[in-house]
Symmetry: C2
Subunit: 223 residues, 2 copies
Amino acid sequence: VIVYGRQPVAELLRAGRRRALRVWAIKDPGFAFTPATAEELTARAGTDAHQGIVAETESYHYVHAREMLGRDGLVLVLDEVQDPQNLGAICRTAEVAGALGVVIHDRRAAEVTPAVCKASAGAVEHLAIARVRNIADFLGEAKAAGSWCYGAAASGRMSCFEVDWPARVALVLGGEGKGIRPRVAKACDELVGLPMRGQLDSLNVSATAAVLTYLALQGEFRS
Amino acid sequence: VIVYGRQPVAELLRAGRRRALRVWAIKDPGFAFTPATAEELTARAGTDAHQGIVAETESYHYVHAREMLGRDGLVLVLDEVQDPQNLGAICRTAEVAGALGVVIHDRRAAEVTPAVCKASAGAVEHLAIARVRNIADFLGEAKAAGSWCYGAAASGRMSCFEVDWPARVALVLGGEGKGIRPRVAKACDELVGLPMRGQLDSLNVSATAAVLTYLALQGEFRS
């Protein structure tokens, strides 16, 4: 598979979790590469957003969702987030903030595609990402392992500022426009919302994720 | 000028701040429109991201930056944020959270282009946006009007969770990759950072904006 873009390729090599089989670049990137033209890179990347560098690498290594459980920290659970930009942005925030990982649905969600790698600025190379068949079942396992499950919902009865965030949290974010599916919402301990005072009635899911990730982890930052 | 996309056109009409001169659409949007093909819409919008609807409207109405001063609340100040996706995302968060407005540089920043309208989900139609010639001078005026000026910086000595956010805040965000320019940073009362615990050393500017916007306004949400 392909990874394109300066920072995504740099993080691929730095993380070393999946082998870089070959790198094509317009200019010398400071490591072994095959010279290529912009047109060749566009053909390989399938987009002209390659920033002059494309790598061929192994498939993305997902982890087992269970590895994120039974430990203090934050797991982000994405219920049908479809947009690669949003998935990438959420992964970048999760990695930078120090979340335990991100759980996605194994068929309905955006996978870790080259566009997701790019949108994450390469964060996916360092982050633990797991795919599960059933989000509600995973939340059941998380609860059994001591996590509190919060679902982000515009209609959430509880403001995110009223939550006394516990040490072990699974935070569920719903798909663009639709939010969390009812069956998944039912599997949450609590639905929380961000205060909204404008004319628009929804935040972007990656903005919601950023605010809630930092609020949920603020106790860890202090300790 | 052009506005494209379902929600951007809907918010344009709902806000009513600038006249919609004409609307072209593939399907009946429920108000006066001129039928058009997808190809015609792509030609008018300059992109195929039009979602079947394009409006022609007046130029974007900027407000005077001074109108945002002398009042309690949050003003977001963007020092050379260039990417339309980021500018749009920040405007959407600012509108939803109920910030007083957004200040941008009058030449070096991304303007409120059709792509920004789209990325903001139409939030720019409701939001106050001002352009200023000199960001540091604006911060001087803000301080004179009783605002505290915080600059978001990865190197900020103070964590965003340590700040006792005052009622009147100007929050400065720097451009992608480069951060706040030194002269603008010097005009801030304090530089604040988000805790970072991962391998990547920076958050996306729109994620940073979302977290800081909600933290800065949490006192208002509670009252």
